[in-house]
Subunit: 714 residues, 2 copies
């Protein structure tokens, strides 16, 4: 083990330590009045109850998967990798949620004193989640890689190492899709259902304590936007590191510095974790300033600059020849030119550049200061229909610039260092995840803080402060989702390359009698089975999106019926004399979300398997492998656009409503505002359920395909 192994381990531990210290400081803060504590504890109970049931269900699926992996692989490396990935991914989400439900009420309390205090508390909570996500993921990969290559003594490019790491990614992905989808259905079921029966039918304001769904709505913010998002980014981060290591193991397997190449992604992640920790200190409101977004961006920009320096350090001392020529790398990567450390450094810089551009583009499409959100707000004046039309138009248009950014990133980094260059760019992009998740996880805390302020009858000025924080949260949430799906787009070729290079490897090295022996696969788009795969992959995000939108609709319906029932059977609720039964609403929604998450989650797991078997039966193994490979690209080609359009469109609708509430186009209560509320409702499942779940869906499809190859090779 070289120095960078220990640096990566230390960085991971530093992230966890940072999280622990910060959460202690959160817990030490004032939690406000008894009424506030009472509400917060109701949210905590609900969130615990939901996550307990969710993790129980996932654990049952997980046990089945472990058994299947044991049967299929007959080794310990794959099942153990799966368990490590699953447990750590679950832990990151769970701990993040635990901190977030403590921080919400303390944010309300701090916001009652000052905006800067509220921001500091909410961001501190977000930073805990963010650094836990990257810290635990890095520790998981580092420790398991160390165990396999150090303690057990495998060569870095041994299949057992590759398969074990891929399985770790699979574990993380499987948790992630359940958590994203289950949490997404819960939170939007509560939000949409609560609004429908509260705002529309009963005519009471949002977060009114008389609405039995309010606690569920707040619980949803924590289990969906916090725990679900954390699991998603954990998975994206882990899968990207793993894919980059796998590609490194394949391309550089004959070269003397393979060990350094395997550690390079870990080194990049390590320096970026340290950069993220340093960056968190820059998130501060200047004296008298109210520019919350500016404060958050200061932290992000600082992280970016520190990461740039760290990247240079990692390249200079992580590669055998520093910024100089990597001997034999050009030929190994199939390029006509040499490849230098400088080339890889520039790929990393490109990854940071893609991140920066996606942040700017998302800000443009979802911020209240620019044309798109203003146009949606303006169109609300002429009614519900035109608001939705303009919102859909913005959502479709918002895909173009991110796609062009990703295309430019692919071309640039491929020309620097081939497919491995794209992998390094994607890794560097995701190495910032600690800071990005911090910005995102800040959102649900402020959302909760506002709800608690409303329910505790705190003065309106507190709600105004939390609302200001919450508005920024809408944009940062859209940014994270754009970032996650953008990394999937940039990484598309990396994941496909892992698949196609694996195939080449197995064609030579598969076990005697395996169908993969000597197989030659034609991946040309002139091969009809490639087109079949592209179309089949292309339909998955659409079908998946439709299924999850319908699931939200059904979950919302169950909430509506329960709240209606409570209003009917307990007339004292409306008069404020009787407290509604919050926990029953949480319970009903929990059941609905858990039930609804299973079928759509199985879609990406089963699709590669079914496609392989069907085409194998019709046209033989070679065509089947071509179709599955094309499917991996097809699911990204449509998934990228579906996900970006949903998340940006949803953000634009949400902020168009906020823009009107700030007094434009007639302000709150006007006809334009009613139309904007409709748009916001439509955007909810778009941006918080269907859209973000596309990202783990893409990853699962890819990971399952890789594992399928390993099974076939036996």
């Amino acid at each position: 083990m070289t120095l960078w192994f220990y640096v990566a381990l230390a960085a991971g531990l530093a992230a966890v330590l940072y999280g622990w210290l910060q959460s202690r400081s959160i817990m030490a803060a004032d939690a406000g009045t008894d009424r506030m504590k009472e509400i917060a504890s109701a949210i905590q109970e609900g969130a615990n109850a939901y996550l307990k049931r969710q993790y129980t269900t996932i654990a049952m699926v997980g046990v089945v998967v472990v058994v299947l992996l044991v049967i299929a692989f007959r080794n310990w490396e794959v099942p153990l990798g799966f368990v490590i990935g699953a447990v750590l991914s679950g832990a990151a989400g769970f701990i993040g949620m635990k901190v977030s439900v403590q921080a919400n009420v303390r944010t309300t309390q701090a916001a009652s004193k000052s905006l800067a205090g509220g921001l500091a508390m909410a961001f501190k909570s977000g930073a805990v989640t963010g650094l836990l996500v990257v810290g635990l993921a890095l520790i998981g990969v580092v420790v398991y890689y160390g165990l396999l290559t150090g303690a057990v003594g495998y060569e870095p490019s041994d299949r057992a190492v590759v398969d074990g790491l891929v399985a770790l990614g699979f574990g993380a992905s499987l948790i992630s899709i359940f958590a994203r989808l289950g949490g997404g259905i819960f939170t939007k079921g509560a939000d949409v259902g609560g609004d429908m029966v509260g705002k529309v039918e009963a005519g009471i304001p949002e977060d009114d304590p008389r609405n039995a769904a309010t606690i569920a709505d707040n619980v949803g913010d924590n289990v969906g936007d916090c725990a679900g998002m954390a699991a998603d980014l954990f998975e994206t981060y882990a899968v990207t590191i793993v894919a980059t290591m796998v590609l490194g193991a394949i391309y550089f397997s004959g070269l003397g510095y393979l060990g350094s190449i395997m550690l390079l992604p870990l080194a990049i992640c390590a320096v970026c974790i340290l950069a993220s920790i340093a960056g968190t200190w820059f998130v501060k409101l200047g004296k008298g300033s109210t520019n919350i977004m500016g404060a958050l961006y200061k932290g992000l920009i600082a992280t970016g600059i520190f990461s740039l320096i760290g990247l240079a350090v990692a390249i200079n001392w992580g590669l055998p020849n520093g910024f100089g020529v990597l001997d034999g790398a050009g030929a190994a990567l199939g390029l006509a030119t040499t490849v230098t450390g400088m080339d890889l450094f520039l790929c990393g810089v490109a990854g940071l550049g893609v991140t920066a551009l996606i942040v700017v583009i998302t800000e443009y499409y979802t911020g209240t200061g620019y044309r798109p959100v203003k146009s949606v707000a303006k169109s609300s004046e002429s009614g519900h229909g035109t608001n939705v039309i303009q919102g859909l138009a913005v959502s479709l248009e918002s895909t173009a610039l991110p796609a062009i950014t990703i295309i430019a990133g692919i071309i640039l980094t491929f020309n620097l260092a081939g497919l491995y260059g794209i992998a390094i760019a994607t890794t560097t992009m995701l190495a910032l995840a600690g800071m990005i998740v911090a910005l995102d996880a800040f959102g649900p805390v402020t959302d909760n803080a506002g709800g608690i302020a409303e329910m505790s009858d705190l003065p309106g000025s507190v709600r105004d402060t939390t609302d200001a924080l919450d508005a920024v949260g809408n944009t940062t949430k859209a940014v994270t989702k754009g970032y996650a799906i953008g990394s999937a787009g940039l990484g598309a070729l990396v994941l496909f390359a892992a698949y196609s290079e694996d195939l080449k490897y197995f064609a030579v090295n598969a076990a005697e009698g395996s169908v993969l022996q000597g197989v030659a696969v034609n991946f040309s788009i002139a091969n009809p089975y490639v087109v079949v795969g592209l179309l089949f992959g292309g339909l998955l995000p659409f079908l998946f999106g439709g299924m999850s939108m319908m699931a939200v609709g059904r979950a919302a319906q169950s909430v509506v019926e329960e709240v209606r029932r409570q209003f009917r059977e307990m007339p004292g609720i409306m008069k404020g004399e009787v407290k509604p039964d919050y926990s029953r609403a949480v319970d009903i929604l929990t059941r609905a979300a858990i039930k609804e998450m299973v079928v759509p989650s199985m879609l990406p797991v089963l699709s590669p398997i079914v496609l392989l078997l069907v085409i194998w039966w019709i046209a033989g193994i070679s065509s089947a492998l071509a179709a599955v490979g094309a499917m991996l690209l097809g699911v990204i080609v449509t998934g990228l656009f579906v996900a970006i359009s949903m998340t940006s469109g949803g953000g634009a609708w949400d902020n168009a409503k906020k823009y009107i509430e700030d007094g434009n186009h007639g302000g709150k209560g006007s006809e334009a505002h009613k139309a904007a509320v409709t748009g916001d409702t439509v955007g909810d499942p778009y941006k918080d359920t269907a859209g973000p779940a596309v990202n783990p869906m893409i990853k699962i499809t890819n990971i399952v395909a890789l594992l399928m190859l390993a099974v076939l090779a036996h």
Copy 2:
């Protein structure tokens, strides 16, 4: 020239003759009261004025294109082909519209006597448009092919023939995208704008004569849903025949029966035209029956059965060995097996099967009798937001089964006769276009008939009859769009094959010094430039959709302002004392639609050129050609899903509203109905502007790429 050349010519002439006779019989029918005639003539004037301006604009663009083609090709075959395609495509739309604006008032008059009479009149008008579309397209291709190979004496596989036919397709496509988009923006701008200001602001019913936008709305049905749709299907039909002929010329160029192969798609279209004419006689309501959809389907099924028989005739007498083995075809197509006439027959049957399945699936997703529409109607009970969420969910889900049908069609026909088998299936699928267009063009006539009934103060029972006809029109319109885009999906590989086979041909045969000489293109999806092309192609339908939705929004806004102005400046309008200035509304909308259609239409024309030049500059001609090829598939992979989701979703929203108006969930005027009106408004630009325009967009991208290759080869 063999027998089948003359049969095809005769069938084309028969279709035109049928159209002429039917339109004479329409003109001879009673046009109702003076008030009705007055309204109808206002619609005629408006439609004429719009089409005149649209065709003037297109003609200007067309002249520029002709000049560019003359400069680029320095021959007469390409520019002449372009002119033939453009003129005939424009003529089909123009004549169809002319008949439709005569038939609308006569349908109102006939519907005031009986449902069967109304159906007969409206369908007769649709059949004229349908048969003109296929008749003129077939005549155009047959005559130009005859001119080039007969009179001028080129070999059937000569490049001049191929380029000339492709240019004919380009002419048709260019008209088509302008007509689809301009007409779509006009009709939905009038519809959405008129509803917003009339129903929502002024509280007057749809088609109320006091609304200055009513005539424009009726004009829109004719210029968008009739003329625009006719141009679209003309283009789809012509491009598919041309692509099949081009593929035939490439694959069979060394074989003795090349002439028969070139005529095979023309023969299939000929027999199917005759089958469509025969099928029209089966569209009749049984005595006392009110099952309009059933009557239309009787006609479609009869056409299908006759086409099956005709297909057998065409194969048996069109191929040298009938249903037997085609000597050398297997090897020519790159297959390990022989290919028989029976195989090609079965490919045609598969094309008919795909058509049938797409009709059934579309009917399921947009008919009022099934789960999807009912679920949208039910979700309207809880508000505008949930209606839109459920509608979007249905629209996303509705893409899956058509995609799987197309995938199955590709696999089946490829296994029968390689890529040429897919081409024959696509040709047969489109050969039914005469009947399908008849079912579609029936819709705008009934829509107009209802408007005329409303404006002429005819008894409510007349409006009920036309409403019953109109509801069926919603589903048949969705069916046509699904059919058009489905054929593009099935034909994706055919268009791409034309591109890649052309490349192979030019690598050997390009002019001395051409960049295409000896070029070898790597179309593997492991090539990053292929992925770049897929992503770039993938973004086009999204960006195009966003742009056209925004264009509708702006056009609607201009209508709203004009109608508001008239209400304000002429207070007598609301009292019914003063007639609003209908023609000014038509004029304003005309300007808006013409202005808005140009930029989005240029997107697919310029995209292949820009992509080629940029990648050429960065990475050389070979990578650039790979990227452009992948772009052709990318635009279909996302375009298929975007278009189907928009057209089916829009149909579902429209019919959910109709379902509620039939007395379900509270009926007309209920809160559920208001929510359903919102969904319908959203669905309007989805299904009638953005969604259907994706189909010509795909074709243009492909055709421009083919012409680009021909230019590069010089």
